[in-house]
């Protein structure tokens, strides 16, 4: 069916006008930039790629949660503190109390989901902005984390997780590496360098794909599917777009929001568990500022701060931009403080572009 008032829109233009456009443009810009200034520094060799992939994946894990929550119209500023808290819980239970690591991980997830639930219920029942409620939890959880850590071990770092996690199936699901044979084969045909000396001589410099990256991809696919293809996804948009209108037509707005707080907490716990398994330790100051980094990824990805609009793919690209810029400046040998300058610039540019696109799509005035 055609409408005579509709100008013929070129296919290219239609493909371009999408919420992720700002993030796509930013990603291209960032890659071109670093190919130019750090192309021969090893940043785009196997080891370098692994390096920024892992960092980007970390951002992506928390960005997916923050993205769905923001689209549902809320923030969670307690994500960073929850990361520190979950890590310390795992370490205390497994190292200090001698629990199996899998049980410690399950308990940490249960606690995080409960905290997400409490965040959500408090926001809904008090009607206060989630900004304030979760800001309170930012302090409460950070304080509890340090207190618990010092109370049980007299220090703020709890090590020894690596030893107790040996052979634990659930620990592997967060700290393991997959596709090892493929990478060995890539090394055999000479696509990946191998260690030439030491105990690992002959093994590829990149062992395989860390489970952290698998988690990131799985969460991105899950979040994208949920948001764009399912009924619940429609409710997420509706809850953030106009909660009264959504209630009128029977959307269970409160339930949607509380579940999104819980999902954000789940993502924070995934992040925390992966980090504890990677480092073999937990520290009370882990996760500092992560809540803002997640929000920045989401906003670069085209989401509207006031809710009701956004894209998980965009948020994932935002995480990629974040990771590449952070590691790229390291590879190029630039002053690390420049990371912030660069990031701030990208943030502004992406958001300006996003706002422009969004107005075109939604007719916002």
């Amino acid at each position: 069916m055609t409408d005579e008032r509709l100008r013929e829109v070129s296919r290219l233009r239609r493909a371009m006008i999408r919420p992720e456009l700002g993030a796509i443009a930013g990603t291209i810009l960032v890659f071109v930039f670093f190919l130019m200034i750090a192309g021969d520094s090893g940043m785009f060799g196997p080891k370098g790629i692994q390096n920024w992939t892992v960092v980007s994946a970390q951002f992506a894990i928390i960005a997916v949660g923050a993205c769905l929550l923001m689209i549902a119209g809320e923030f969670d500023l307690s994500v960073g503190s929850m990361i520190g808290f979950a890590g310390v819980v795992i370490a205390i239970l497994s190292v200090q109390w001698g629990w199996p690591v899998w049980a410690s991980i399950i308990v940490a997830f249960a606690i995080c989901l409960a905290l997400g639930f409490v965040n959500g219920v408090l926001v809904i029942k008090t009607g206060l902005p989630s900004f304030i409620v979760t800001l309170a939890f930012l302090y409460i959880l950070r304080g509890l984390t340090i207190w618990l850590s010092i109370l049980t071990t007299r220090q703020t770092i709890i090590g020894g997780v690596k030893d107790v996690a040996e052979g634990d199936p659930l620990a592997w699901a967060f700290g393991g590496v997959i596709l090892k044979p493929v990478f060995q084969w890539l090394a055999d045909i000479g696509l990946i360098d191998t260690f030439t000396r030491g105990t690992r001589a002959g093994q590829p410099v990149v062992e395989g794909v860390p489970m952290l990256v698998v988690w990131a991809l799985a969460l991105i696919v899950f979040g994208h599917f949920l948001l764009t293809k399912t009924k619940f996804g429609n409710w997420i948009f509706a809850a953030g777009g106009d909660k009264q209108a959504a209630r009128y037509v029977g959307v269970p707005v409160d339930r949607v929001k509380i579940l999104m707080f819980m999902f954000t907490a789940f993502c924070a716990c995934v992040f925390a568990t992966c980090q504890v398994m990677e480092f073999g330790s937990a520290a009370a100051d882990r996760g500092l500022l992560k809540e803002f980094e997640a929000i920045i990824c989401v906003v670069i990805g085209g989401a509207l701060l006031t809710g009701g609009y956004g894209s998980v793919i965009g948020a994932a690209l935002g995480a990629l931009i974040f990771g590449v810029v952070q590691q790229g400046l390291f590879f190029s040998g630039a002053e690390s403080s420049l990371f912030r300058v660069f990031l701030g610039t990208i943030l502004i540019l992406a958001v300006i572009l996003n706002t422009y696109i969004r107005r075109m799509i939604t007719g916002e005035r």
Binding site: M1, D3, R5, L6, F225, K229, T230, K231, G233, N234, W235, F237, A238, G241, D242, Q244, A245, A246, R247, Y248, V249, G250, V251, P252, L304, G308, Y309, I361, T362, G363, E364
Partner: protein
């Protein structure tokens, strides 16, 4: 005379100190159009919101098909077959027409956990229903924010007509519509009524009310001034009831004609 689908008995609704409804009784039978009239602030919207499950009545009883019923949320009333066009429309501007149209009752396909919204079907129905109301959408993916006020209102009406299995509640559905779309809505009300659905029609326009109404109830300051059947009341009487008599006559005099 058939039994009412919904019967509301002496409904009271207080918002803190504000008494929005002070004992309103009302019923809606299958196949009739019951018009609800009254001044601004009379309590019409509040009343239909209690019927739709948005508000819980402070006092009074709601019978649905003869049995006492308490709707805890709009979802309950929707499931019972009551669809509502709210005065503030309940449309989300950032979302597409299709997503708005189906919001709360999305059609699904596939098996759990891969159940997904059947967008092909949803888009098709949305376009068809809008066309029936006399509006050709450019695309079902279009955000509601890009529609004109009247087009938005039409989406809300089309949605309610599509889902209103037993009762259709329309709160000032024609306030922003053009002549053709208004005629369309009135003839849709007529069509829907003939299918045996009960229509509650709120309007400020006496001519629209008389064009399709079978019964007329006038609200004034949270109370009913009474219910009249078709032919029992003249347009002038209805107008006077709605606006509270003499002042209206004076106003009309100074404006030199019927308002």
């Amino acid at each position: 005379m058939s039994t009412p689908i919904v019967e509301m008995k002496s409904i009271e609704k207080h918002f803190g100190p504000v008494i929005a409804l002070a004992g309103v009784s009302f019923d809606i039978r299958p196949g009739e159009c019951h018009c609800l009239l009254g001044d601004n602030g009379a309590g019409k919207s509040t009343f239909i919101k209690t019927m739709a499950g948005v508000h819980k009545p402070t006092k009074g009883e709601i019978l649905f098909e003869g049995t006492p019923m308490s709707f805890d949320s709009p979802r309950d009333s929707m499931e019972a077959g009551i669809a509502t066009v709210y005065q503030d429309l309940a449309m989300i501007p950032l979302m597409s027409v299709t997503r708005n149209f189906w919001m709360g009752r999305e059609p699904e396909k596939g098996f759990a956990p891969f159940k997904r919204v059947d967008f092909d079907h949803a888009n098709q129905v949305t376009m068809d229903e809008m066309k029936k109301m006399g509006i050709n959408l450019r695309s079902p993916d279009q955000a509601v924010g890009t529609l004109s006020g009247g087009e938005r209102q039409t989406v809300a009406i089309a949605r309610a007509v599509y889902f209103g299995a037993k009762v259709l509640i329309l709160d000032e559905p024609t306030s922003a519509l053009g002549v053709r779309q208004t005629a369309n809505v009135l003839s849709t009300i007529d069509k829907v009524r003939k299918k045996g659905i009960g229509v509650v029609f709120i309007t400020h326009n006496v001519r629209h009310a008389l064009a399709v109404g079978d019964r007329f109830t006038v609200l004034n300051r949270g109370k009913t001034l009474g219910t009249a059947g078709r032919g029992e009341i003249t347009p002038e009487q209805l107008q006077d009831l709605m606006a509270g008599g003499q002042e209206m006559a004076q106003l009309e005099g100074s404006l030199g004609g019927t308002v």
